[in-house]
Symmetry: C2
Subunit: 401 residues, 2 copies
């Protein structure tokens, strides 16, 4: 039995997360289903960033490294983020980008498994993960990259996987995969870009994990990435990007490199302080969020969207029907996905298109309502059933950017 | 003949750069001689960053990648910065950090000189440069690091040097050193952290160059770094940090890595957009600056400071007396440099201390006046001649941060 709009409104009334919607800025007339690409702006971000610019940089100048806490930021922000991925204090460092964190994690894993010369990196991984692994393998020489389907032989040093597939939204069983990989003597590295903030994450058994903070976490465009290193590896694991921030005493300006103890060993360089400020504004919200409630609402919203669109025959669901097997995302194959998405955006429903034929919708439980999902499905139904996407203004290709 | 304060005021009256001072926010009662560590805030930064947060992120959301130009930012900001280092369009990419840029440049140079197994990295280099080279050599294996004094044999693949020494302010002759290194068949990589924005820089003969933008360029704490790749290397040079931004078609999400043509090959990852906004505000000023005028004023200010302090016997000049051989910085050795600097800062003159005994002062010609230099020298003279630094509150060590 499919829900009516009134049913949806009633669910929104009863939603324990409903109050969070007011903490985000959402443009009038837009249903934003791209929070899995760039999350909406926390209402507090403008003031938080302005404080960093005007009060900290402007007034404290170089003193801000101490007085405003910039120096410690990679670790203090890491500690704030840690609970969102099932990690504890001193296990997460924030900074740089996902690509850099992938490079650090995979390089560290290879050095911990020197006899093994295979890296497993799924084709379902986000491209940057695959590209970075490819670049690292070329740099080091003598390494082979195999897909996830390959047997876990004793040649495998490390497995790098996305918990949630960026195209289909399919979710791995983190506990099961981690156990299987580790049983084969390899190290498990999780990419959490499409799961952190979307569902409760538990990296406590993983060897390394990493992700960005600008999707479901709402940290802002290009907000810094994070890297988790399991405490059992922190003494032995090497950060190959040995910038000054990773040094035991950065301000001693010693001639040679001496790694810091603990997670700071994986810091690289001066934090991008203004970009950190956006993330801090987001964490001001996340500090108060119950991730179990987020997951329950995410499942409700994605299930609703799937159910409402089930009658449309030209949409082929790319996302697992079993809620346990998906993230907070619903994707459909549609042969004309590109013009369909443009027609949809033109009507205020923002999703995105991923070549060759994927319509992708992200569901951010903190600011999306059941009625938004109902309206989005109704608009997509309209666009498809009335062939609205066939208009020339949608079918001509825009320049790629 | 030493100048009087009235002479200094007259020089400020005639200063062609005088109007720029109003474009920066300078705290009341502070003479800021740490612009070589973190430059003062451009007055336009608050509005520029607020625009990026509120108008771009807040209203455009993911659309900002196109409408606000975020996607192209690493190259468009690179092109804006290029003239400041003597480079042309399509030669500079902005993003990440100095440490990452060092890693990219040195790794690329080593791959262009595969038979050579020596990296020259001076001990006078900024520590992060030396640490990163050390980490890279360890990662690759089979490389040896030698100091600048070592002969340039045919084993040397690359030489990494800072144009201006971060401690002493001594400046290399870029043209002469570059020619000598290249004549030996090695590649020349310049670190411009302490020269860009301080003096006219010319990298046109260099193979690679890099630097940060938060010192003399005033881009803000943790503002993105830049990397220059000489056009003659752009087709062959490899970026070993093959993040998605370096791909020929980032949004095609192809399975394998295919490097972009031109300088974009050296982009790595999603730009830190909020941190870029601070740098853009600074470039709004730099676009209008005559670097020859900056150099002339820099020499005048540093010479004045040296002259005014010449009578103080306990200060031993660490910076070359010949203006051509120094950057925009003056350093002195003083056995009790730590308490001396604290006593000075307590009196509103902000410089910094570098272990073991360096008092370091940076001179940012856009916002410092001759009278500021006069007053700073008078305060330092006072602190030393009256033994003000011997007070217990200065001599006890603060915790290192």
């Amino acid at each position: 039995m499919t829900l009516t709009r009134a049913d949806c409104a009633a669910l929104d009334e009863a939603d324990p997360l409903a109050a969070f919607r007011d903490e985000f800025v959402l443009p009038e007339g837009v249903i934003y289903l791209v929070g899995n690409s760039l999350g909406a702006m926390p209402r507090g971000a403008a003031a938080r960033v302005a404080r960093t610019v005007e009060d900290e940089w402007g007034r404290e100048l170089v003193g801000g490294w101490n007085t405003a806490g910039w120096y410690a930021q990679p670790l203090t922000t890491g500690d704030r983020l840690a609970p969102l991925i099932g990690a504890g204090p001193g296990q997460v460092v924030v900074g740089n980008s996902t690509s850099i964190a992938v490079f650090q994690a995979v390089a560290a894993a290879l050095r911990l498994r020197p006899g093994r010369r295979v890296i497993v990196s799924d084709v379902a991984n986000f491209p940057t993960d695959r590209y970075v692994v490819e670049g690292l393998a070329t740099l080091l020489g003598g390494y082979e990259i195999r897909p996830f389907e390959a047997p876990l032989t004793d040649e495998v040093a490390a497995v790098l996987l996305s918990e949630v597939d960026y195209r289909t939204g399919a979710r791995h069983d983190v506990g099961q995969v981690t156990a299987r990989v580790q049983a084969a003597g390899a190290l498990m590295i999780w990419d959490l870009c499409h799961s952190v903030g979307a569902l409760p994450v538990d990296v406590s058994q993983a060897d390394f994990a990493l992700g960005c903070t600008y999707k479901y976490l709402n940290g802002g465009p290009g907000a810094p990435a994070f890297l988790y290193v399991n405490p059992r590896h922190q003494a032995a694991a090497e950060n190959v990007l040995t910038g000054w921030y990773a040094h035991a005493e950065p301000f001693a300006f010693e001639p040679g490199f001496r790694p810091a103890d603990g997670i700071r060993r994986f810091a690289v360089s001066t934090p991008h302080v203004l970009s950190f400020a956006g993330l801090e504004a987001a964490l001001d919200i996340w500090d108060r969020v119950d991730m179990q409630a987020v997951r329950a609402k995410s499942i409700a919203l994605t299930s609703l969207f799937i159910d409402l669109l089930a009658p449309i025959e030209t949409l082929r669901l790319a996302t697992p029907r079993d809620p346990a097997r998906r993230g907070s995302q619903v994707s459909f194959h549609h042969a004309d996905g590109y013009p369909v998405m443009r027609a949809l955006i033109d009507r205020g429903v923002h999703g995105d298109f991923r070549a060759p034929d994927i319509l992708r919708f992200g569901f951010a439980p903190l600011y999306l309502r059941h009625v938004d999902v109902f309206d989005a499905a109704a608009t997509l139904t309209d666009v498809l059933s009335k062939d609205l996407w066939r208009a020339e203004k949608y079918t001509h290709r825009l320049p790629v950017t």
